[in-house]
């Protein structure tokens, strides 16, 4: 017997269980990296535009480093097993966004516009508030399953948030989309960004309870599982809701985001492909239907189908009462002139986009100044955030956490797709902001809260199971035994 072992020791191996390491030091190292890259970019922009290292370099670097450091310490203390990548990735995107917003502040062309203001300091303030919100989420949300109790309250809150911009006196119609509310003394706020998170909580709580009814009670027809009529109710309600948003707030992006998020979560909860087919058909039907009579959407579709014609019209005096914009064509030119490796930070002409160059169209500046190589890296970083979110969902032990993580990362992915697709001319342009990169307080705040919730779920998911309790009696017996 033993001779068998000894002759075969050349492939001896030992199997032992290892738990998930906490990986906080990896996060710290990546975070240092993620702060260093925007500082490098900042110096690069300064050198390219003003021929000197910008005077605020040190304070900017220290400020971003301090914010990231606080976030890291809070994660280390309150979510020690959280995913090590989410925080550095978000920090990097936020830092790069700040640099490019500052770079657009320096543009002479944008400075000559009537509604010009220094956006970078405000964005830095929003970033600080966003990280503060992130810290608050981690401090007060000790366990994400608490949110499950507020399923229907969340639904109510989300509806209120969505309806707020339509309330007379509170809502503000800015550039054709009624998605802002004015808070006196504080500025304007986009409640839709926060509704995204609250709605994900509602969907997760609702689907967790109803998933079996939705998944199992169905008839098979032509390879598709057709759900029962009464189970179709919720999806119809959400569909109607997103169509109403589209009509009354003329906000294509948000309605697409909500409906898409619901379909993704429905699919994940029930594993039925038929929901995806239904979802795509219904959203297509809804979008086409609304676009046929809503002039604001029609303009967007026209600009998407024929950006050059729109560019030409924007140079002429037209009498059709529609504001023609050359933004999309300018953005496409910016992407084109960037080429593979880009013109270099601070050396592009994406300021020709003029209005919203630093918010909705910020991706065009990245495309021009960093080129295809840079935009691919940026999109990959977004992809990694989504991947970590989905990985968190896979690792989560409770169905509510799974659904919530999938919903939040799905919403994040959809938002990136809708904005990037719009700016690059793949789909009609919608008034949404690129998460973390674009200028906008609501967006930065809401996305930091989203990352906070994902980190909380991933902490719970990756926390090793408690060690089996050693029975104190057993040791006592052992001592007594002769």
């Amino acid at each position: 017997m033993s001779s068998t072992t000894n002759t075969s020791t050349h492939h001896t191996s030992t199997i032992g269980a290892i738990g998930a390491p906490s990986r906080r030091n990896t996060e710290l190292a990546l975070l240092v990296f993620a702060v260093a890259i925007p500082v490098f970019a900042y110096a690069n922009v300064g050198l390219a535009i003003n021929n000197e290292v910008p005077s605020g370099l040190l304070s900017y670097g220290l400020g971003l480093g301090l914010l990231a450091g606080v976030a890291h310490l809070v994660v280390r203390k309150f979510a020690p097993y959280a995913d090590p990548l989410l925080l550095p990735l978000a920090t990097l995107l936020n830092g790069l966004g700040l640099v490019v917003i500052w770079r657009l502040d320096q543009s002479k062309l944008l400075q000559s516009l009537p509604n010009y203001f220094q956006a970078a300091p405000r964005q830095l303030l929003y970033t600080a508030l966003g990280i503060a919100l992130f810290v608050v989420v981690l401090l007060f949300l000790k366990d994400h399953r608490v949110l499950q109790r507020y399923t229907y309250i969340s639904m109510f809150c989300a509806l209120v948030l969505l309806i707020l911009p339509l309330v007379p006196g509170l809502g503000a119609n800015i550039y054709g989309a009624k998605i802002w509310i004015n808070i006196p003394g504080l500025g304007s706020l986009q409640p839709g960004e926060f509704a995204k998170i609250v709605l994900a909580v509602f969907f997760a709580g609702y689907l967790m309870v109803k998933r079996d009814a939705l998944a199992l009670a169905s008839r098979r027809f032509m390879g598709l599982y057709l759900p029962r009529g009464r189970d179709l109710g919720p999806i119809l309600v959400v569909w109607a809701l997103s169509i109403l948003i589209l009509i009354f707030e003329t906000d294509l992006g948000t309605s697409l985001l909500f409906f898409g998020m619901f379909v993704i979560m429905l699919y994940v909860a029930t594993e039925r492909t038929s929901w995806i087919v239904f979802g795509l058909l219904m959203s297509a039907a809804g979008a086409v239907g609304v676009a046929s009579f809503e002039p604001h959407i029609q303009t967007r579709v026209q600009a998407w189908l024929n950006p050059l014609r729109e560019y030409k019209l924007s140079r002429e005096v037209t009498h059709d009462g529609i504001v023609h914009s050359d933004q999309l064509q300018q953005a496409l030119w910016a992407f084109g002139s960037g080429g593979t490796l880009g013109t270099g930070l601070g050396q592009g002409h994406s300021d020709l986009i003029r209005f919203a160059a630093n918010s909705d169209f910020i991706l065009a500046t990245f495309g021009e100044e960093l080129g295809l190589a840079g935009i691919m890296a940026i999109l990959l970083i977004y992809g990694l955030i989504v991947e970590r979110g989905v990985r968190t969902a896979l690792a989560a032990r409770d169905p509510f956490g799974k659904l919530l993580a999938v919903g939040l990362s799905g919403a994040f992915a959809l938002q990136v797709f809708v904005v990037a697709g719009g700016v690059m001319g793949l789909i009609p342009l919608t008034g949404m902001t690129m998460p973390f990169l674009a200028y906008g307080g609501s967006s930065v705040l809401a996305n930091w809260a989203l990352i906070g919730i994902l980190i909380r779920i991933s902490d719970t998911a990756r926390r090793p199971a408690p060690a089996p309790v050693t029975n104190p009696d057993a040791e006592m017996t052992q001592v007594v035994r002769p």
Partner: protein, 174 residues
């Protein structure tokens, strides 16, 4: 600023950005955790005088083991590893750290047996309250044999006694 500097910075920035992405992907790769399998090198190679080598190893290991377990709670002659001595998994060792070891064809077993004569949940080996290791047959079809006798009740395993499951033989060693 000279054209050259700006070009170098532009390409350098792209390189740094991609380096970050690659490092992040590496972190994801190293983040996949599961069972750690340590390949042992070719110890005692050629030296067929294994008895001497074994004796030396035995002398060297117990103090070290006791140091690891801490406080001398481990009884003398307590086994520290489970070794597969026959079958397709020959040479595999599992460290005994107070955990229950399951054997069978089920994928979540500690030792997954690829053997037609094994049941999916065949047997388990676990420490009782006094720290002795017990083998228990989990109602398998073909039975678990502890040194030629078929198990009917959970039985303590003496050191070095072969436990046979189908074509696989395991034993506990120090």
């Amino acid at each position: 600023m000279s054209e050259l500097t700006l070009t170098v910075m532009r390409l350098g920035f792209l390189a740094v950005l991609w380096l970050f992405v690659i490092v992040a992907v590496q972190v994801i790769r190293s983040d996949l955790f599961g069972t750690r399998v340590t390949r042992r090198g070719t110890r005692r190679e050629g030296a067929r005088s294994q008895q001497g080598g074994r004796a030396a190893a035995r002398q060297a290991s117990p103090p070290q083991q006791r140091g690891q377990q801490g406080g001398g709670r481990q009884r003398r002659n307590a086994p520290t590893k489970l070794v597969v001595t026959e079958g397709t998994l020959t040479g595999t060792t599992v460290a005994l750290q107070g955990q229950t070891i399951t054997l069978g064809r089920a994928h979540d077993s500690t030792i997954v047996l690829d053997d037609d004569y094994a049941s999916s949940r065949h047997a388990r080996i676990y420490p009782d309250q006094s720290g002795r290791w017990i083998v228990e047959d989990l109602g398998s079809t073909n039975g678990t044999y502890l040194d030629r006798s078929r198990l009917t009740t959970p039985t303590p395993i003496p050191l070095g006694t072969p436990i046979r499951i189908g074509k696989t033989v395991i034993e506990l060693r120090k």
